[in-house]
């Protein structure tokens, strides 16, 4: 069980954390210099770094909901990606049906995903059937298959696109930045801040942290643990909803689109330390960078390979994550 309180204590920039952050930063710097030597083009590496960070913000955003669920409920939610896809189709459907600006579909997608999350938790994951790791894994896997194929049956397999009206682009010291990606990046930071505030400064946040740290203890002091679990799961999926709306104009929407993000999001969660929202954002940026740099180091290899290498190294050496505390 992770310790959200510890993570928040860690977020107060304790000594060892600073040291680890510096070490991580140093490694990233070395990796970038190495990429520069490998590719020989400053522009390419610079563009890779910019793209990596922008994409990484998106990964962080998706991983935030997952890390919340992982950290508080200890559920490995393999349906997170599928829920993301559901939200994208909601966004797509609303844009198609009403001609609304894609970002305005947030007001529909986020509450919808919140409700779906609550229903999924109450209906499928709470209680004894969802107790063990393998059962959770299979229920969420089954759910993701069900959602993906439900979308397939309903919307068909043809890829869908969501156009972003008034999209723009500008050059940042030579690197191209498009508006859509910048908005998504900003949205990630904003939502991260909201979550941070929710967990740190509200009574409900205190309850969540108490449940995460010690469910039985929280129960004793009068916290309704099941309710907190359901709400946390719902908030986690609502985050996926927000991420989906921001990401929809950047990708091609297909029912199985969630899979690719799901794997990456899990890596980000472990990297950032489970339950650690700020860690998820930083982890997302790191993974975004790793992906881009992998393609520079190992041409012809999938960017995922580098991600998995980093993942296994982190799992083996610091399973509590770069920014988590040893339990």
């Amino acid at each position: 069980m992770s310790d959200i309180t510890a993570n928040f204590r860690a977020a107060a920039l304790s000594g060892p954390l600073l040291k680890r952050a510096a070490l991580t930063g140093g490694l990233v710097a070395i990796a970038i210099v190495a990429a520069l030597l490998r590719s020989g083009s400053g522009l390419v590496v610079w563009q890779s770094v910019v793209t990596g960070l922008l994409t990484g913000g998106l990964y962080g955003l998706i991983a935030m909901g997952l890390t919340l669920i992982f950290g508080v409920l200890d559920i490995v939610n393999f349906a997170h990606g599928a829920l993301l896809a559901v939200a994208m189709f909601i966004s797509f459907g609303v844009v198609q049906g009403t001609g609304l600006h894609p970002y305005l579909t947030l007001v529909i997608a986020v509450p919808a995903l919140f409700l779906i999350g609550a229903v999924v938790h109450r209906g499928l994951l709470s209680g004894s059937g969802g107790a063990t790791l393998e059962n959770q894994l299979l229920i969420t896997l089954g759910l993701s298959l069900l959602l993906e194929n439900g979308l397939l049956m309903f919307f068909g397999a043809e890829p869908k696109t969501v156009a972003l009206p008034g999209d723009f682009q500008f050059s940042l010291f030579g690197a191209v930045v498009t508006g859509g990606r910048l908005y998504a990046f900003g949205g990630a930071i904003l939502i991260g801040a909201v979550l941070f505030y929710l967990l740190r400064r509200t009574r409900f946040g205190t309850a969540i942290r108490a449940v995460a740290a010690n469910g039985q203890g929280a129960e004793l002091v009068g916290v309704n643990v099941r309710r907190v679990h359901t709400l946390t799961f719902a908030i986690g999926t609502a985050c996926a909803g927000a991420a989906a709306v921001l990401a929809a104009p950047l990708v091609t929407v297909t029912p199985t689109l969630g899979d690719q993000f799901n794997i990456t999001a899990f890596v980000v969660v472990v990297l950032g330390g489970m339950g650690n929202v700020a860690g998820a954002l930083v982890g997302g940026l790191l993974i975004g960078l790793v992906e881009q740099l992998t393609t520079i180091y190992m041409g012809g290899q999938s960017s995922l390979l580098g991600v998995f290498v980093v993942f296994l190294v982190v799992l083996f050496l610091r399973p509590e994550g770069l920014f988590g505390r040893k339990s």
């Binding site: 390419v44 068909g156 397999a157 890829p159 156009a163 191209v176 498009t178 091609t252």
Partner: protein
């Protein structure tokens, strides 16, 4: 765990099992039955396509294309050499999975199909080709890019579309000719491709052909189509390389990403050149990316837009199914014609005789070719011809070679004078 729940759960399972057994029981019976099935009733042709799964739209298109061929044959009096026996299309769904394709192929053969058409995906076709070979039933591939299948010396595998290497070779040749005609002879081609055998194979074949023509190819940039969500860095690499042409071989989804990235980076190119690319010659691509795709070239197999019969067929399809008929469906139409005319020539439903007839056949295609469909010793269509297309004013036009051109190629990009 209550007793009721247990009973409910077990009951559900039992019902499933019983249903499964029931289905098995109603399935047709094997090899002996197959021969009997071929000798009487309609002549069966098996069509294997991915009508569910990620490629379901194309799979359905192709199944319909095959059905239209069967309808046309029957409308014209069936197989005359067999006394006007009708033709029937037996369909199977590969779900885009190789092992499902294999068991479906076996089923269609057991049910008495004289030949198979399919399957859209190379991996599935590879599996089905094995089944066909072992059962000695001809398998005429409509869409299948991979050339590897034709290196095994199979006797029962045929293909209508031009192979991956043929398209890449033609792409290099067309590039040289078109660029020279435009007065901007190509110097250096950057190749962006997805990393599996489809894209990598196209890149390799293109580089080989280009080298012979004296075109420099590099850098060679690959990406993972499954996970890629942004190709800006890759296109930046193209820009940094100073290449004057960008060749692309990818699938549909990543084709959109490439178009967006090209628009963002605006490298100093004279042309964007698709090589059997899955996006650039799709009408949907034009509607999805809008102006971004304008003037993109694509070398690929294609329905023959200048053949009046093709035009008629596509109009009929549009009328029946309310959607434009894609090239894959026209290829499926051709493939069914190949088998039906093989049966006609052989005057037999014995798959071995049909195979011999197909190997010697000459079938007029509705897809682009230099002549009738005729097979080389390895089963590949000798006369398949890749064609160069270009997005012009939001329309996909055949632009090269000259005798297949609907309009002239415009060798330029929109963002440069």
């Amino acid at each position: 765990m209550s007793a009721r729940k247990l009973v409910a759960g077990l009951g559900a399972c039992a019902a499933l099992l019983a249903a499964t057994a029931g289905c098995g029981g109603s399935a047709p019976s094997g090899a002996a039955g197959a021969a009997a099935g071929r000798d009487s009733g309609p002549v069966r042709i098996g069509a294997l396509h991915p009508v569910s799964g990620a490629n379901a739209v194309d799979g359905q298109q192709m199944r319909r294309g095959a059905q239209m061929a069967v309808d046309a044959i029957n409308a014209a009096g069936g197989i005359t050499s067999l006394g006007g026996r009708k033709v029937k299309l037996e369909t199977g769904d590969t779900q885009g999975k190789a092992e499902v394709g294999q068991s479906e192929a076996q089923r269609l053969i057991s049910e008495g199909s004289v030949g198979l058409v399919g399957t859209y995906q190379s991996a599935v076709s590879t599996n089905v080709a094995v089944v066909a070979e072992r059962n000695r039933v001809p398998f005429v591939m409509d869409v299948t890019a991979s050339d590897a299948i034709f290196a095994h010396g199979y006797k029962y595998a045929f293909r209508v579309q031009p192979g991956s290497a043929a398209i890449a070779g033609a792409a290099a040749r067309y590039l040289k000719e078109v660029s020279e005609k435009a007065g901007k002879p190509v110097k250096k081609v950057a190749f962006l491709h997805e990393q599996t055998d489809f894209g990598a194979g196209a890149a390799e074949a293109f580089a080989k052909a280009a080298k012979k023509l004296g075109i420099q190819v590099g850098p060679n940039i690959s990406y993972d189509a499954v996970t890629a969500s942004d190709l800006t860095a890759q296109i930046t690499q193209v820009k940094a390389s100073g290449a004057d042409v960008l060749a692309v071989a990818g699938y549909y989804r990543d084709g959109l990403l490439a178009a967006k990235a090209i628009n963002a980076v605006k490298p100093n190119l004279n042309a964007v050149w698709g090589v059997s690319d899955g996006a650039f010659d799709q009408p949907k691509f034009v509607s999805d990316v809008g102006a971004l795709g304008e003037r993109y070239f694509s070398t690929n197999y294609h329905y023959d837009a200048k053949n009046p019969e093709t035009v008629k067929l596509r109009a009929e399809y549009q009328k029946r199914y309310g959607a434009p008929m894609r090239t894959g469906a026209v290829l499926a139409y051709d493939a069914v014609q190949v088998i039906a005319q093989g049966v006609e020539r052989a005057a037999s439903t014995d798959p071995k005789k049909v195979r011999a007839a197909i190997a010697a056949s000459q079938v007029r295609p509705l897809t682009v070719g230099t002549g009738p469909i005729a097979f080389a010793a390895n089963g590949d269509n000798k006369n398949a011809l890749p064609v160069l297309m270009q997005v012009q004013n939001g329309q996909i036009k055949q632009v090269y070679p000259q005798d297949k051109a609907e309009s002239q190629p415009n060798y330029s990009v929109t963002w440069r004078p």
